[in-house]
Homo-oligomer: 702 residues x 2
């Protein structure tokens, strides 16, 4: 489809008393913009007649300068209609339609000798709204420092909300559901086994914020294209039922250092009548800039195994030396269970090769793991010095011979100044040994000291990293970064992130509730793929240590279903080799499920309850279905009309055993084989905490 | 001379009641150490029977941990005598003797379950004392954070002091002289035309602190080997006449992040009966570690000219684009007086080559000068992108053909995170074009925001830089860094620093008093060489702009004398080419004076009044004499007995004209030629603010 920019003088359907109004392409959404009696910009957003956001405030306060919040007049404005579609490098869909009407309002501030200009840009889609502040180059703004952003979202009612506490440094919380007015962020902030967090305010929550309105619609607030600006938390005014932008500060309490030519990220409101339509809302991707990677052919979605889960279950260690003896290396002894040793890594390489898994992650390969945790120091990790028992030449040669690529692990321990200093050397090292990308980590307080994971300085860092790795044809998957905002469109080599509570919490803490994975796609994943690390077959941890009571809160079949319901172009098969070798029939699904899709159909979904999803592989005709449930048993009765009518399909169903239950019998599963057509009626039991994965191959195709 | 370590059981001449005493090699200095009734370490220092420091306190307070300040017992102690000498890579002297007795006291803290250890090391010389804290690797200290250092220097009397205000970010103050008890730092902190400063405390002064005792001795307090620790300011207790260590904090208020195996810099007290002997005190160098540069042959002392003073006098600009038009580059126009253009740089190269000057500095060659000052932003400067009118290939080719090396200018604007990020690229660029080193700059508030020029983070940065440039066989000369502490012994490629109020203040501010250069060698230069940029022949600025009232507070002859009195291995001939071409007879001295010496003899000196100094060139027999005075006219009657007796010397005297005066007639000078012997009696008038430079060449040698 060709892009279509249409200047639309006639879309503004009422301009009474300086109110500008704009309708969405299907005319069901309405935006209004006006300046109030003090010249303060205001906006409202209606969906199908419902007042979703009522008279929200807009404005930016500056440090040591007059704010960009009032005394404005409208200098000029124009509207456009855009209807375009674009092809993703990888993703849940191959083609994405971008259809909106936009309103661009140029405001002039009438105070003072220097006339300053601020532009507000709104894009109204059929399923939501995005808007941002633009600081024009010729707007007499110069250099300025943002002290606060005044954007508010006054809501229509006391919605139910899926939320995690506002925080400047982490998103690894369990989700809570409560009425907006009943949210008390701090009561949940202490109980999450999170190493480093900075929750600061009882009325502060993070985005993406998922809301369920009593009168039958769903709403999510997030941001898109977070670049050179801090992340936005939302501050709740419980009496007004209003959310206000709360930007993550820097060490001096400033929010952002900007200048003419800069713009804020988009503030985004996603709207749907049905929960499942939130999951295919593409506004956030559409509001991001097109790919900056000229030739993305080096970005090859796929799966990986890795020397990783064995550390989380206590079988081996990241560190090579025994850190418990004394601080000085003079006094260190070797541990006898270092995971990233040559023989073990080669075992992973051989297994990956045997099962056509393209990547192997190795954690603990490099110097620095003895005294890093919480050290809050620079010069802890080297990103180019392997431990003595990691024979990098032998390992690299084996990987090359076996056609497997090794993903480098770069744990910064938050010492980002030091990491950036070493980065050129690290990249040269990666080029030397043929590494295609990194898994990065930011566990710990950030250095520069006083900066936060989600502040402007770090947001700049992540983008710089994506750009630099991109130039070097390398990918990155960051753990503990700021939560994503669709930047994987612009930097498709930044192909995944953690930025939420991942599967590993189940290995050593009270873990994640069975409902956790039914919430994530409605919250965290709205911003982009997550490296959740599914595929755990050995669900109870007492196998590794009889004293352990921890377990993954899942059935085995649900772990398979997650490969469909929880999207990432790079997916881990996270469990140990030996656990996969014991269950080759179930592992077959992990081998076969793709990580890049042509089409996604959400069969049904309700946050906190269940997600049923079907996806067709990119450049192929197979379909894969994933169905997961929370702690409730459910009957999954998928409508298979997404299949080509009349065509026969070979179906393999990986389902919970009849007595399966996440707590009492999690590892019971059944595999059924059958030939079916799209009219087939299925009834599949999902166990409490269970799930189901289905592979559908057109008959005649292998 | 062989190094001589002698274990000296007998030097401790009294051990009554846990008091350990140590005498200096000549037995005229005495150190005592003891633990008081609370187990707090204490020390005292006597010189020739005078109680220089009386019962100083020692100790380190930690953040969130019990302090290392009391409840100690002496675990063990030993003493050594060292008599050694070592050869400098370059310097004021070729050979330096290192003769001291040391006392090493191992303290154990008796509180708590974990027995922690702290070592105090004292080195007592015939002309002063150094001591430091050592945190042993096996001392059960782990990682710790210093919140305060308790070291005090309780003085014997209310000495006269040459001081500048304590500050966390700058040393570019004019010096004041007052009684210790009369120092009010803040009263002088506002009046110095310093771009960025952080003076915080009315009783705070910086080191090196020069004191003149009423009863006839001189004292200077400084530190040596400032590594991985913040700089020390001194806090004055006016009633007790006591100075206390005040460490520069980081953004969180912490002082230093250390661990077992670390040590503090040396706290140093220099002592002399005569002021002139302070100038040849080598304790600070002796307390630094030997050179880490295995092959220092790439470090070639010499002189440089540069595209620099012309910007300070307003003849040309650093920036290529006119920054006054608007912020965005879209709106910029070219300036018509950009200094670092190809033709101008080639003019400097040709002049340098013609006069055997090995180096040419170029400032303003690189992108970023439009909007840098005070911007407090990253991504301002590029260190590998020349301006369009700086034809780097043509310039580099000309420099190569003319056997001249270009010194790169790296102005960071304080954005050190960004500089470190670009450093690998910058060094590769320097290698590509054959640049031998940098002049670095730190004008502005530091990024990481909230860090200070003189805090631990920046101290680490400077050392990292010295090490990295050293590995790449490059030199560095830093402007606006922390003041030096003798680290040029360890990193001889870190060959100069500004770190004080330089000559350029005279070009555009009330400038420096005529006494300024008679104080600097007694203060700032105790730590190491200074890039003061002498050699200004055109002394009044009204030549460049008739409205200008500024001038250098000097005569022309004094500018020549500074090449002898103000040591640096890399000395600028700072004035414009045309000013040198007008006075080739005077410029001859600049051409001939070396920057590397075999021997230094201070004929006489008094801080704030005059300095008379003679030096013999390294690997040669010529002597050079420099004599400078403050605003007072003086008769300089040098004793030439440093010359080889009986030998004839050709003498060239560059002296003030008979009516010369820094204010009324600064550019009047006379050059006398004569043949003399060491018994010659000279009488040379030094004009107010004047000086005299002498070259003495053994007759028969050319």
């Amino acid at each position: 489809m060709l892009s279509a920019f249409i200047l639309m003088g006639n879309v503004l359907n009422a301009q009474v008393a300086n109110v500008l109004k704009l309708n969405s392409p299907n005319n069901l959404m309405e935006l209004k913009f006006y300046l109030d009696e003090q010249g303060r910009p205001r906006y409202g957003f209606k969906a199908e007649g419902l007042p979703i956001v009522k008279d929200g405030r807009l404005g930016i306060l500056l440090k040591d300068a007059i704010g960009l919040d009032k005394d404005f007049v409208v200098d000029s404005h124009y509207t456009l209609e855009m209807d375009d579609s674009w092809t993703t490098v990888w993703g849940e869909e191959k083609q994405i339609r971008n259809h909106y009407r936009s309103l661009n309002v140029r405001l002039k501030q009438i105070l003072g000798a220097t006339k300053r200009t601020l532009i507000l840009e709104f894009r109204l889609f059929d399923d939501g709204l995005g808007f941002r502040y633009i600081f024009p180059e010729d707007g007499n703004l110069g250099l300025f420092t943002v002290s606060d952003e005044l954007t508010t979202f006054p809501l229509d009612a006391d919605h139910d909300v899926y939320w995690i506490p506002g925080d400047y440094d982490t998103n690894e919380y369990r989700y809570s559901r409560s009425k907006l007015s009943q949210i008390h962020a701090l009561q949940f902030s202490e109980d999450n086994n999170i190493a480093f967090k900075q929750s600061v305010h009882d009325s502060l929550v993070q985005t993406p914020l998922m809301m369920i309105a009593g009168d039958g619609y769903y709403l999510a607030i997030h941001e898109a294209a977070l670049v050179h600006y801090p992340a936005m938390n939302l501050e709740i005014d419980r009496s007004k039922l209003e959310l206000k932008s709360h930007l993550v500060p820097d060490v001096l309490g400033n929010k952002a250092y900007l200048q003419g030519g800069d713009k804020t990220p988009w503030r985004v409101i996603l709207y749907a009548k049905k929960a499942k339509d939130i999951l295919t809302n593409r506004i956030i991707l559409n509001l991001n800039e097109p790919s900056k990677i000229a030739d993305p052919s080096f970005i090859k979605p796929g799966k990986f195994i890795g020397v990783w889960w064995e550390m989380h279950v206590g079988k081996s260690s990241w560190n090579y030396w025994d850190k418990s003896t004394a601080l000085s290396s003079k006094f260190w002894k070797k541990v006898n269970h270092h995971g990233a040793n040559t023989a073990n890594v080669i075992r992973y390489i051989d297994f990956a090769s045997k099962h056509d898994i393209p990547y192997v992650l190795v954690e603990g390969w490099n110097e620095g793991w003895e005294d890093w945790f919480g050290a809050y120091r620079e010069h802890i990790f080297s990103f180019s010095k392997p431990y003595p028992d990691f024979d990098i030449n032998a390992i690299s040669a084996r990987a090359k011979a076996k056609n497997v690529k090794l993903i480098m692990h770069h744990e910064t321990s938050g010492a980002v100044t030091d990491y950036e200093r070493q980065l050129d050397t690290a990249i040269r090292f990666m080029i030397q040994y043929g590494y295609p990308g990194i898994k990065g980590g930011y566990v710990g307080k950030i250095i520069p000291r006083g900066e936060h994971h989600d502040g402007q300085w770090m947001v700049d860092h992540y983008e710089r990293l994506a750009s630099k790795f991109g130039l070097n044809k390398m990918t990155m998957d960051l753990h503990e970064p700021v939560r994503p905002t669709g930047l994987h469109r612009t930097y498709p080599n930044w192909w995944s992130n953690e930025a939420a509570r991942g599967n590993e919490f189940n290995a050593w803490s009270r873990g994640n509730l069975p409902e956790h994975e039914t919430i994530l796609p409605f919250t965290r994943l709205l911003g982009g793929p997550m490296d959740y690390t599914p595929g755990i077959f050995q669900i109870k941890m007492n196998v590794y240590d009889s004293a352990k009571k921890e377990q993954v809160h899942t059935t085995l079949a649900k772990q398979l279903a997650l490969y469909v319901t929880m999207y990432s172009p790079i997916q881990m098969a996270a469990d140990l080799i030996e656990n996969y070798e014991k269950r080759p029939d179930a592992f077959k699904f992990i081998k076969e499920v793709p990580t890049d899709w042509d089409t996604t159909v959400v069969l049904d979904a309700e946050p906190g309850d269940y997600i049923y999803m079907a996806r067709r592989e990119r450049n192929g005709k197979q379909w894969f279905v994933g169905a997961i449930t929370d702690e409730q048993e459910r009957l999954f009765e998928p409508d298979l009309s997404f299949l080509t009518p009349g065509k026969k399909y070979t179906m393999v169903v990986y389902r919970d055993g009849d007595s399966a239950d996440w707590e009492r019998n999690p590892m019971s599963y059944v595999i059924d084989n059958k030939t079916i057509r799209s009219t087939e009626k299925l009834k599949i039991r999902l166990a409490p905490g269970g799930g189901c994965a289905i592979q559908l191959t057109p008959a005649g195709k292998n």
